[in-house]
Point group: C2
Chain length 276, copies 2
């Protein structure tokens, strides 16, 4: 594949994503994001996360944060539900669950989760990425060349996906095993064909490993709200890409026995590479 | 050394530090902490940090956060100053610099720093630890048995120190080398004898490695404000110990070229073990 396949239309100066530290926001391409009002205290432009990825990896599949509380912390993000019952997808403040049987459900504010990562999304860079037969690796490679790997970014991509491969876990049974072990037998994959939809998530720096997932981490929902999941791969010819650089991150530490008893000493870098 | 050497007077139920998730606060032993008013938004009980330890380790010795801004984020903490000119010590909102020549200076709000870790300190557990000839290792071992290593704690210890070994770095010269390399030639140590004073800092979980310093990290100032530094070791017979468990942490990412160009991909775990 050569660069001639790439035809990237950049609506906002891409230098904003480079080393300049520029945070200019061009809203004209994303009118819906203008209406986003932050209520995240004095850290409105921060990524907020409840618990850490290493707790989930170690087998902490239950937590106390409710969806209602999470929605105060951001309007776009990803996570999981208690017992590991499905993938959490949040876009424009709406929260969905994609279960291991492929079904999609709107989630009530009372439902709880063991881990979640969200942000008040206000795209500061928007562009359309066009490449025939672009897969997830192509996309990541292209984005990495535009982003600074020391920064944190919330990402939203929309388009038509001739192919989209996702997964969702079946719920765990107590005593919960480490996540990588659980997924060996309980990961359900969905090869979705010709869907139109939106994937949301983050691209995070290596130094956040153990706290969150380094690199790209996206969850998908089709526009007709009938399919989705944790993104494993996809094929698309054109993607509308919105990026929101975060100014920092906030980690809420679960104050309960499950978290406090977890084995968080072990470095689970290999486990996360195995499952992502 | 046997347990008979230990005579620990615990004023507040130590179970608060265990697996119970108890956050009961007993203020009677620490009247000064009652007056602490948080202005850290909706995260008053969070550790706040500007930049990450890996940036400092990689050679980012300059930053843009002012002492005035830092004092809004907490009233107790540690850090460094631009160019690596001295150790930062903050207690009860007052900020001091301990330089490589051993001198101590009150710091104006305009001075800037590359990294700092602070908290609005409100001790939730207070006790006196008595052990003849207790050194830093004894202290850490004793505290570790009382704390939960998955939690974050701000710590303040006061007492008479027959011996206190501290350090401060000489300022770096551009281009700045990695911290471990700089300290090989530029670490000045101070063997302080018979001082009375207070050390402040944190005990943090392993999963915060790369973002902050895992384990104990304390800076010291003598009561007469003439000596101090980064704590390497000490001997004391009795310590007044105040502990404030944090509910989470906030990381502000420096939005400047020095941080963005830093090599933050490398895992610098060994370097941090070398210098701490």
């Amino acid at each position: 594949m050569t660069d001639s396949y790439f035809r990237t239309t950049v609506f906002v100066l891409m230098a904003c994503l480079g080393y300049t530290g520029c945070t200019t926001v061009e809203k004209t391409e994303s009118p819906e994001s203008i209406t986003v009002k932050s209520n995240n205290g004095e850290y409105p432009d921060y990524l907020y996360q409840y618990s850490i990825i290493d707790a989930l990896l170690s087998g902490v599949y239950d937590g106390d944060l409710s969806v209602g509380e999470l929605r105060k912390k951001g309007n776009l993000g990803i996570g999981g539900f208690n017992r590991l019952d499905g993938e959490l997808y949040m876009n424009e403040g709406e929260v969905y669950k994609i279960r291991y049987d492929g079904s999609v459900h709107k989630v009530p504010d009372t439902e709880k989760m063991p881990v979640a990562f969200v942000k008040h999304f206000q795209a500061d860079t928007i562009f359309t990425l066009i490449q025939k037969g672009m897969d997830y690796e192509n996309f990541k490679s292209r984005l990495k060349s535009l982003l600074n790997c020391n920064e944190m970014y919330a990402i939203r991509i929309s388009g038509i996906f001739p192919e989209m491969l996702t997964r969702a876990p079946a719920p765990g049974k107590k005593p919960y095993p480490p996540l990588a072990e659980h997924l060996k037998e309980n990961q359900y994959e969905f090869g979705l064909e010709d869907t139109e939809g939106t994937a949301v998530g983050f691209c995070l720096p290596a130094y956040m490993g153990r706290v969150n997932v380094p690199g790209f981490h996206l969850h998908y929902l089709s526009d007709d709200e009938t399919s989705g999941g944790h993104v494993l791969d996809f094929v698309a010819d054109s993607l509308y890409v919105e990026i929101d650089k975060a100014s920092g991150f906030v980690v809420q530490s679960p104050d309960d026995e499950r978290f406090l008893r977890a084995d968080l000493q072990k470095d689970r870098k290999k486990e996360i590479e195995e499952i992502e």
